[in-house]
Structures are given as structure tokens and as C-alpha cells.
């Protein structure tokens, strides 16, 4: 009996449930303590804020399950937004596809370098982080030039349109999460993702196209980051250059909180969604308190993250 793996299995269940339990507790307490928390307006806002991060974290989930990491998504998120805003002058289609294509291509190059040259994902995607951020500054004249999106354009509708007051991005993120879950668990590509991260050498011998799988997940991660950027630009009606700094770390954090093993081979989309929920509820509650200096927000979320991780560690024993 391989005790290591048995422990890992137990951990998986506990981690997933641990994050879910934490989310439920968090929501319940916030609901009781802060009267405004449970209001429909607040919940809509919460879901909308979470949807952008969820789209990025979805790609990150796949990358981390293959045992990799993608540090470029924060920069690609910002680049995607600027490209969408710039492209919006040529119509809806250009505004949407340009960020997907460019960010997807950068993701593809990430994957290509990682899979074919055996360079560490950390290094390759760190380089892309710098590259994409630099490209962004170059095309916006160091951020001085902010591209606006015409308020009455169809593209803005993509970010600001609502159903029962819930923004379109929420539905887009939810649909992508369901699709992502299906791809991960019910397609050969998904099985290859698990196999690649679970035991790469074995995967090669089992006939899994490891290189293609890696290229696939990084391309996917880049594309999704670009999409999240486009949605954010549509919502903000402009390509904001300063967003996305450190977003890659938020994405990694929610994926790991959601029970995906940082070492690869195990993880779920649902866990990631729960992780996004948890981090957004925390930020929301800090806003509710109101008196807290906004600079302390990340201090509090950092401490809270640490508590969650420590709890998971304790649950593992």
C-alpha cells in the first residue's frame, strides 16, 4: 500500500471540502454580521468581480494540474484589455478576437518553449510576464494613452449587459467553468492533463502526448487571460493599463485553495470556483467594514490565505 498516495487522496477530499466549508462559514457569518452583505446588489457585484478572476484561474487550474505554473496571466490580462479597447474601434469581432489571438499566441509560445526545450515554466512565463507588460506599455505610450470604448457599442454590452441584474461576464465565466470541468474530466485531453502532472515519465511511456498537452494548457491559459482582459475592458469601457499586477498570484492562490495540488496531477475546476468565491468574499467583507484602510486589504487577505492554508495542512494530518 502506498501510503503517500493514500494520504494525498484523503487530502484531496479534505482540501476540497475544507475550502467549501470555509466559504459557507464565511458567507453565513458575513450575512449575519453585515446587513448589506446579503443584499442582491452586493451579491451581484461580488459575482461580477469574481467572474474575471475565475476565467483566469480556470486556465491556471489546467496549467497547475500538469505540474506547471503560468506567471504571465496578470500581464496578459492587462494586455488583453488594452488590445480589446484598441480593437473596439474596428467593431465587436475585432475587439473580442484580437486579445484572444494575441494572448493565446503568447500562451502558445510559452507552452512551446516549456514542452520542447524543457525550460522551467517559472522562468519561461516570468519572461512572458515582462514581455507582455512591456508590450502593453509600448502600445499605450507608457500608459499615458488610454484607449476608450464607445459607450453605446455592442462590445460594452458584453461587459455591462445584465440578466436579472447579473452581468454577462458572470454567465460567461459560469459557462466556461462548466465547459472546463467537462474537458478536464470527460475528454482525453483532460485525462492527458492529469497524467502529465501525475507522473510525466509514465505518461510518456503510456503514449500520452505530453508535449502537446503542455502546449495546450498554456495556450488555453493565455487565451483565457486575454478573454478576462477583454471582458474587464468592456465592463470598464476602456483599456486600463495598470490592472493585472499580481493577478497571476491571486489566480495561483485560488487554484491552490481550491485543492489543486501545486505539484500537479490532481485538481478540480469546482475547487477553483470555490477558491475564487472565498477570496472575493474576504475582499468584499473588508470593504463592508469600511473603516479599514484599503492598504490593509491585502494584509488581511494575506493573513486569511495563510490561515486557510494552515488549516488545510492541519486537516491533512
Amino acid at each position: 500500500m502506498s501510503t503517500v498516495q493514500a494520504t494525498a487522496t484523503r487530502t484531496k477530499v479534505l482540501q476540497r471540502q475544507g475550502a467549501a466549508v470555509a466559504l459557507i462559514l464565511m458567507v453565513a457569518v458575513s450575512w449575519l454580521v453585515f446587513p448589506r452583505f446579503g443584499s442582491l446588489d452586493n451579491l451581484r457585484d461580488l459575482a461580477l468581480q469574481g467572474s474575471f478572476l475565475a476565467v483566469i484561474a480556470l486556465g491556471m487550474t489546467f496549467v497547475i494540474i500538469t505540474g506547471g505554473i503560468d506567471l504571465s496571466v496578470g500581464s496578459l490580462y492587462a494586455l488583453g484589455g488594452v488590445l480589446a479597447a484598441w480593437g473596439s474601434q474596428y467593431g465587436f469581432l475585432v475587439a473580442l478576437t484580437l486579445p484572444l489571438l494575441v494572448c493565446g499566441a503568447i500562451g502558445f509560445v510559452n507552452g512551446l518553449l516549456i514542452a520542447r526545450t524543457n525550460m522551467a515554466p517559472f522562468i519561461v512565463t516570468l519572461a512572458s510576464l515582462l514581455f507582455a507588460r512591456g508590450l502593453l506599455l509600448a502600445i499605450t505610450d507608457e500608459g499615458a494613452n488610454t484607449y476608450q470604448i464607445a459607450p453605446d457599442s455592442a462590445f460594452v454590452e458584453l461587459g455591462r449587459g445584465t440578466v436579472f441584474g447579473f452581468g454577462y461576464p458572470i454567465f460567461i465565466a459560469a459557462a466556461l467553468a462548466v465547459l472546463g470541468g467537462l474537458i478536464l474530466n470527460r475528454t482525453t485531453f483532460g485525462q492527458n492533463v492529469f497524467a502529465t502532472g501525475g507522473a510525466e515519465q509514465s505518461a510518456v511511456l503510456l503514449g500520452v502526448p505530453v508535449a502537446k498537452t503542455k502546449i495546450g494548457v498554456y495556450t488555453m491559459s493565455g487565451t483565457l487571460a486575454g478573454l478576462a482582459g477583454a471582458l474587464t475592458a468592456a465592463y470598464l469601457q476602456s483599456g486600463v493599463t495598470v490592472i493585472g499586477v499580481g493577478t497571476e498570484l491571486d489566480a495561483i492562490a485560488v487554484v491552490v485553495i481550491g485543492g489543486t495540488l501545486l505539484s500537479g496531477g490532481m485538481g478540480t475546476v469546482l475547487g477553483t470556483v470555490i477558491g475564487v468565491g472565498l477570496i472575493k468574499v474576504i475582499q468584499n467583507v473588508i470593504n463592508q467594514i469600511g473603516t479599514l484602510d484599503s492598504n490593509y486589504q491585502s494584509v488581511v487577505s494575506g493573513v486569511f490565505l495563510l490561515i486557510v492554508v494552515v488549516l488545510q495542512r492541519i486537516l491533512r494530518r
Binding site: M1, S2, V4, Q5, A6, A8, T9, L182, N185, R186, T187, T188, Q191, N192, F194, A195, G198, A199, Q201, S202, A203, L205, L206, G207, V208, L261, G265, M266
Partner: protein
């Protein structure tokens, strides 16, 4: 059945870094035959397999494949975190109308299929939760179900229990009946002679013999593998252990009442200087756990370890300082650091002794490493060679050297000869002997009864985590050991009768 080759290899040569791993090798596998591929480690078996399966392309020669080849390896090459069923069907999952993987059907098919291999475990649980033997069986099932015409098995039984070996051999026979050709690589003579039709012997990259196996006496086969004459081997026997060691001094190691529930219970072990004590018992009887308990790597409910009469705190650091060293069973995960050089691997444990204020003396290191390479006859191109490039036997010697560097008084050896070839095995056995003669106290764990009977002066037989018997002198026979191991079965039978 007409002889129709499914694999035909002619004059294949493969060179790695100037060393000929395969030199003009011919090899023919006929449809429906079980072909033994034997040779010492480093003889070129693995290279030949990799050339056959297309992982390596040969530098010269011709290969004709007439069918699909599946390979199962010595180490289970599956994904431990994925479910049993997912592993079994990876890459050819049954699908529903939407083109999505039909998990219900996959699990049902996996369950049914694995029953044919004697596995009744939950197919939706991660593969890693199964016993190694069961995992190996899943790997075999996978290889076979891939509609292979040829199945290559590289040491498939090296980590299996006797019962599992029987199941595996049954499966091999079934495949044989279905007309599937099998290349069977093993060091276990019994298995080879029981199931194989033909044999090819490789030595130093050259095919030295190919023909029917039954007509080849065992001793001749061994002599072909080793390249030594039959006489020479007969004189020295099949294991390389010498005389028993006579020790009448006080025990240097006394482990009393070691208990770590549920794995071991009230185990006592004492070893005198110069004595080799064997731990016998089935897999899971608590052998490895006992060794780990002695070195402090297993949390204890209670129990004491004394070295030269003094109690040792229960942690690895203290045990090591007191002079206990352990050679772990799993070289890959618990010992060797493959990307470091031979020198670095050897001095690792002794670094604290070799350094002053955190700075190590390189010349001192080199002296020690050279001495051990000579003394243990480790085959390396230079001390700076990466350990990963060495054969299993030489890796084992590197590990042995690492622990000997620390000048231990007590050496715990867990399966020191597992997975290494006949020649290296004999050398490791001879080394154990030498070390004991020099006064080291040795605890030897082995699944091979012959190794224990020849190598140990005294045997402690474990059963279900308890001492089932201690054998010495004239009691050191196969029958006595098996009786001690098997007593449980009889107890059970009695118990059942009583309860009815």
C-alpha cells in the same frame, strides 16, 4: 503453430557516449512464443527493449516489426493519482453519444476486466492506493487490452509477492494461449524455466546465445550470463556468502519491545558485532517497519533501542550518530539522488564529519570516494559520473558506500540485492560478508529465502508484525522458515474448526 516472426532484429548496434550498449545483435521473436531475455544488468536488455519499442533508434542494423508492441516495466509506469479505471483506459476511454468519456461504462468495464486478473479493488480509487503487486497487474491488464501482438515484460515480478507472481504467470500463460508473443525479462530462474520456450542471453551488448530454454541446464545459463565457466560457479555456489560468523561478544544493538500499531508489535532484535541477523517474513509482515523503527524513522508506541548498552533517542539523527545506518529498500525514492555525481552521493551522509565550520575538504572527499570505489568495486567512468547513469547494482554499491563512510557499527540492509543482476548480487552478498567479518553488525532483510539462509547467522521470522520465531544453526533450513511463516495459516484453520 508455424514459426512466423513478429519481431526480427538483425545486426543492431547502439552506442551511448562511446560505449557500445548493443553490438551487432540478432534477435527473433516468433508468434505465440514466450522468449526469455536474460543477462546481467548493463548487458543491454533495456537498450534492446527500447530499440524494439522504438524509444531508441539504433545506430545500425535492421528491425522488422509485424504487430503492435506493448511494454510493462519493472517499475509500474502508471499514474498513481489517477483512478485505476482511468489508468487502465487512458487514451482509449469508452465514450457516450456526445463524445465525452463515459465514466460509468469505463468503471464497469474496468471492474469486469480486472476481475480476470484477480483484482477486486475499487476501480474509482486512485491507483496509488493499491498494493504494488496489484498496480503491476493493472499495468499488465492495460498492456494486454491494448490489443497487442507482442507484450514485453521487464522484470514484472520483482516487486510481487509469491501469490501475485502465480497470478501473473497464469495471465502470461493465458496470453500465450491467445497467440500473443511475449518477451520476458527476469532474473528469477524458476520463473524463466516454468514459462519460457526460448531464451536469448545478452552479455556486454552481445547476444551470446539464443535457443530453446528447456535444453539449457540452469548452471549453463548462469555461466553464459556471467561469462564464467560452470566449474567456477559450482565451486562458489549460487550465493556469494561465506562461512557463518562466530560471535560470542555482547550485542551491539538491542531493540526491545518495538511497537508501532498496527504494523509492528513487541518486536525484539539483538545483533552482536560481526553477526548477520536476517529478518524473514512475507511482504507486509513488518520487516521494513522493524528496520525503520530501529533507526528512528517510524513513530513508536513504545520500545527502546540500545547501542552498546546505551539507549538511543528515537530519531534518525541520534541513531545515525550512535552508529546505525540503513540502506533503504527503494533506491529511487529513498536513497539515490540521480542527478548528483557518484562522489556527491557517497559523501552525502558523511559530510558533517568531513567538514569544519560548514566547509568541506575536497581532497578528503576524493580520498574517501576513491577508496570506496576500489573497495566496493563500483564500476564508474569517474567519480564525477552521474549516479543515474549507473546500473542498479552499482547504484546499490554507491548507497552502501555512502553509509559505510559514516563508519557505522550497525548496518540495516533492506532488500540490498533487489532488482540487481546475478553478478552484482553476488558481489553485494560477498561485501555483506566482508563487512560482517570486519565486525559490523548487520540486519539483513530479504524476500529471497536463499539469500537469508546463506547470508544470515540467525533468522528472526516475522508474521503480521510479530516475531513468529527465531532460528539458528541447524534450524536454518527452508522448512523451518516456511513453517514459522505459515503457522498463522494453520492457526486460522484451527480457529475455524473450534468456532464451528
Amino acid at each position: 503453430m508455424p514459426t512466423e516472426p513478429v519481431i526480427e532484429v538483425a545486426g543492431v548496434t547502439k552506442t551511448f557516449a562511446g560505449v557500445k550498449a548493443l553490438d551487432d545483435v540478432d534477435f527473433t521473436l516468433n508468434r505465440g512464443e514466450i522468449h526469455a531475455l536474460v543477462g546481467e544488468n548493463g548487458a543491454g536488455k533495456s537498450t534492446l527493449i527500447k530499440v524494439l519499442t522504438g524509444i531508441h533508434s539504433p545506430d545500425g542494423g535492421r528491425i522488422a516489426r509485424n504487430g503492435r508492441i506493448s511494454t510493462i516495466y519493472q517499475e509500474v509506469n502508471l499514474v498513481p493519482l489517477m483512478s485505476v479505471a482511468a489508468n487502465l483506459f487512458l487514451g482509449r476511454e469508452p465514450r457516450n453519444r456526445l463524445g465525452l468519456i463515459d465514466r460509468t461504462r469505463r468503471d464497469a468495464e474496468a471492474k469486469e476486466l480486472l476481475q480476470g486478473y484477480g483484482i477486486t479493488a475499487d476501480v474509482s480509487s486512485p491507483l496509488g492506493t493499491l498494493a504494488v503487486g496489484e498496480q503491476q497487474m493493472v499495468a499488465l491488464a492495460r498492456a494486454v487490452e491494448a490489443d497487442a501482438d507482442v507484450v514485453i515484460m521487464d522484470e514484472p515480478t520483482s516487486s510481487l509477492e509469491p501469490r501475485e507472481v502465480e497470478t501473473l504467470l497464469d495471465v502470461v500463460r493465458k496470453l500465450h494461449e491467445q497467440g500473443i508473443a511475449i518477451i520476458y525479462v527476469s532474473h528469477r530462474m524458476d520463473e524463466l524455466y516454468r514459462i519460457c520456450d526460448t531464451v536469448t542471453v545478452l552479455r556486454d551488448g552481445v547476444s551470446v546465445h539464443s535457443g530453446p530454454l528447456k535444453e539449457l541446464p540452469r548452471i549453463e545459463l548462469v555461466s553464459l550470463m556471467l561469462g564464467r565457466s560452470v566449474n567456477e560457479i559450482q565451486k562458489h555456489g549460487t550465493t556469494a556468502f561465506g562461512e557463518d560468523h562466530h560471535a560470542d561478544t555482547l550485542p551491539v544493538l538491542e531493540a526491545l519491545d518495538l511497537t508501532s500499531k498496527p504494523r509492528i508489535n513487541n518486536i525484539d532484535v539483538s545483533i552482536r558485532p560481526g553477526e548477520v541477523v536476517g529478518l524473514a517474513g512475507l511482504l507486509g509482515s513488518g520487516r521494513t517497519e522493524t528496520a525503520k523503527a530501529i533507526i528512528g524513522a517510524l513513530p513508536l508506541d513504545h520500545g527502546t533501542v540500545l547501542v552498546a548498552g546505551k539507549p538511543v533517542p528515537h530519531n534518525v539523527k541520534a541513531a545515525t550518530r550512535a552508529g546505525i545506518s540503513m540502506l533503504a529498500e527503494d533506491r529511487k525514492t529513498e536513497g539515490i539522488i540521480p542527478n548528483l555525481s557518484v562522489r556527491e552521493n557517497i559523501v552525502l551522509a558523511a559530510l558533517p564529519k568531513l567538514s569544519r565550520f560548514g566547509i568541506t575538504s575536497r581532497s578528503k572527499q576524493d580520498r574517501i570516494v576513491d577508496a570506496f570505489i576500489k573497495r566496493l568495486r563500483i564500476k564508474v567512468s569517474s567519480p564525477e559520473q552521474k549516479v543515474a547513469e549507473l546500473s542498479g547494482g552499482n547504484q546499490q554499491k554507491v548507497l552502501l558506500a555512502r553509509w559505510l563512510c559514516t563508519e557505522p557499527k550497525i548496518l540495516l540492509l533492506d532488500e540490498p540485492t533487489r532488482g540487481i543482476d546475478v553478478g552484482a548480487k553476488a558481489e553485494v552478498q560477498a561485501l555483506i560478508d566482508e563487512l560482517a567479518k570486519e565486525g559490523l553488525a548487520v540486519l539483513l532483510i530479504s524476500s529471497e529465502l536463499d539469500e537469508l539462509l546463506d547470508g544470515a547467522d540467525r533468522l528472526i521470522v516475522l508474521r503480521d508484525g510479530e516475531v513468529a520465531g527465531e532460528l539458528e544453526g541447524a534450524q536454518l533450513t527452508r522448512e523451518h522458515v516456511l513453517n514459522a511463516i505459515a503457522a498463522e495459516v494453520m492457526d486460522d484453520a484451527d480457529g475455524n474448526q473450534n468456532s464451528h
